[in-house]
């Protein structure tokens, strides 16, 4: 995510077979290989365990289709919320001049290090029927948040927000203020410079942040089950269904797990941001 000075930007070089790069020390290969296997082999384990004959039936069950639809919908909404709320937050963190910004950033990172189930409990004690805010919502508007799809979205947004904020803040810092200063000397107001210069410059960072956030939302389990409960079609997302299915039908759980793996791979491959010109 480093932006080379624009003056030095050249067309991307093709790899040259004559090049003889400095070699890697031998001792990095073994742990590197182990690290790769540690990630790849469990997926192989899933493939090996899968009951391919029953796969269509397992994946096309009402419960599985409901869960997939719910997961995709909630993850999409949550990602949108992450962009709408986390985008401006990242701008404040990267550009703002407020006292206590460091503390603010630490708080924003909390969901990243907190076990998701703790996040779910925290949300429950805030927005649950007896919670700090939830009590008022119930009394004033008759709204109860837990056990609703909105609770799923809240839980996902909670855990995924830092992913978007962190990667966007990094992109903003890398893009630096130099381009904004140039825009100002050309007569662009701060809001015009932000719209026409800053946002396009950080678009790759925003995209990669959104992809990460979406993937995190798709995989969200702990906060959801603690805060939203588990009901087919309403709150039972794919990970919750996997967890439930393995109680009785391991084959079903494996099939759904593979479905999640496929979704994850699609997200990574399709969503991986290709660096825009001059800014990778």
């Amino acid at each position: 995510m480093t932006a080379p000075p624009a003056t030095r930007a050249r067309a991307p070089r093709k790899p040259d077979r004559h090049e003889q790069p400095v070699g890697l020390p031998w001792f990095v290969w073994i742990p590197a290989g182990l690290a790769f296997l540690l990630i790849a082999l469990p997926v192989v384990g899933l493939l090996w365990k899968a009951d391919w004959a029953r796969m269509p039936e397992l994946l096309l069950s009402d419960a599985a289709l409901d869960a997939l639809r719910l997961s995709l919908e909630t993850a999409a909404i949550s990602t949108l919320l992450c962009i709408l709320l986390g985008g401006p937050l990242a701008v404040v963190l990267a550009r703002g001049r407020l006292p206590g910004l460091r503390t603010l950033r630490s708080v924003v990172l909390l969901p990243l290090v907190l076990p998701p189930v703790v996040g779910g409990l925290a949300l429950l004690f805030l927005l649950g029927r007896t919670g700090l805010v939830g009590r008022g919502l119930e009394l004033a508007f008759g709204i109860t948040v837990p056990f609703t799809t909105a609770a799923v979205v809240l839980a996902q947004t909670f855990v995924a927000l830092p992913f978007l904020v962190v990667s966007l803040e990094g992109a903003l810092r890398t893009a630096g203020r130099r381009y904004e200063a140039v825009a100002a000397t050309l007569g662009a107001s701060p809001s015009l410079a932000f719209r026409r210069v800053t946002i396009p410059l950080v678009l790759p960072g925003l995209a990669s942040g959104a992809v990460l956030a979406f993937a995190r939302c798709m995989g969200e389990f702990g906060a959801t089950i603690a805060f939203a409960g588990s009901l087919q079609g309403t709150t039972r997302t794919l990970p919750l269904l996997v967890y439930l299915e393995r109680e009785t039908d391991v084959d079903g759980a494996v099939a759904l797990s593979l479905l999640l793996v496929v979704v994850a791979i699609v997200v990574i491959v399709v969503g991986r941001p290709r660096g825009s010109e001059g800014l990778t």
Partner: protein, 261 residues
């Protein structure tokens, strides 16, 4: 620090073993074999047995000096999966026939499992029972937020059975994975009522209020117990089963609300 390193090495060993595609050969846990006078009995038990078995553990250790009972509580199906995948258990006490069947079907029980207790459902409400739930049918009222177990787990299966026998169609706001999750949704006030086992209500010690209903007898849940095949401590395992099925065991279990086998 040493233990951390050991754990890291063990982790690497697993990766290496997997890399060589040898069948799962988990590193022996703990390593050192216990001296003859200090032996460890490992009991896998359904989470709902926590209070009863913890009470029995003390008695067993008094009766058998030098024996340390290790109790591993969890969801029955989790425990069954662990045993099928080679977890070193001596005794398995399950909260349903079907989960025990997973283990016995895999040929991993030393003898046919025996039922040592039964459990029935009870309605759990928030303390004071604010919605005035008095009967099973009340749970289907639209203003009562009910939480149940998912049909895939034993308490949920029992719930479904009661629904069928009574003709009451519950509209739960959530189907949880285990009774503890149901209980916490009720005790925190986020749900008005939940369906759990009577023993869970007793164990919750006043955080929820129990409401018994006669239709619960339609879905008695059996608690089977069995010594695991090739148990490292087969003799102690047998003694544990005898204790649970004996007079003391029965009394302890009854005190928690379990029914007789």
């Amino acid at each position: 620090m040493k233990r951390l390193v050991a754990a890291g090495v063990a982790g690497l060993a697993v990766v290496l073993a997997a890399a060589c595609s040898s069948p799962s050969q988990a590193p022996s846990s703990g390593g050192a074999s216990a001296a003859p006078e200090s032996r460890t009995l490992t009991v896998f038990a359904a989470a709902s047995l926590t209070e009863s078995f913890t009470a029995l553990e003390k008695q067993f250790e008094t009766d058998n000096p030098g024996v340390d009972v290790k109790l591993s509580y969890g969801g029955s199906s989790d425990l069954a999966q662990q045993i099928v995948n080679g977890a070193p258990a001596d005794v398995f006490a399950a909260a349903s026939d079907s989960t025990m069947k997973t283990v016995s079907d895999a040929g991993l029980t030393a003898a046919a499992p025996t039922v040592f207790a039964t459990n029935v459902l009870q309605i759990a409400t928030a303390p004071g029972n604010p919605k005035g739930v008095a009967a099973f049918a009340d749970l289907a009222k639209p203003d009562v937020k009910t939480v149940v177990c998912a049909p895939q787990v034993p308490c949920g299966a029992a719930t479904t059975k009661v629904e069928q026998s009574t003709g009451v169609d519950l509209k739960p706001v959530s189907e949880e994975n285990d009774v503890k999750s149901v209980l916490s949704k009720v005790s925190t006030g986020n749900a008005d009522a939940g369906l759990v086992y009577v023993t869970d209500v007793n164990a919750a010690k006043g955080q929820v209020q129990g409401v018994s209903f006669p239709e619960s007898s339609a879905a008695k849940t059996n608690y089977p117990i069995a010594v695991v095949k090739d148990a490292p401590q087969a003799d102690l395992a047998q003694k544990w089963v005898q204790l649970v099925e004996g007079e003391n065991g029965r009394k302890t279990l009854e005190a928690q609300g379990f029914g007789a086998a």
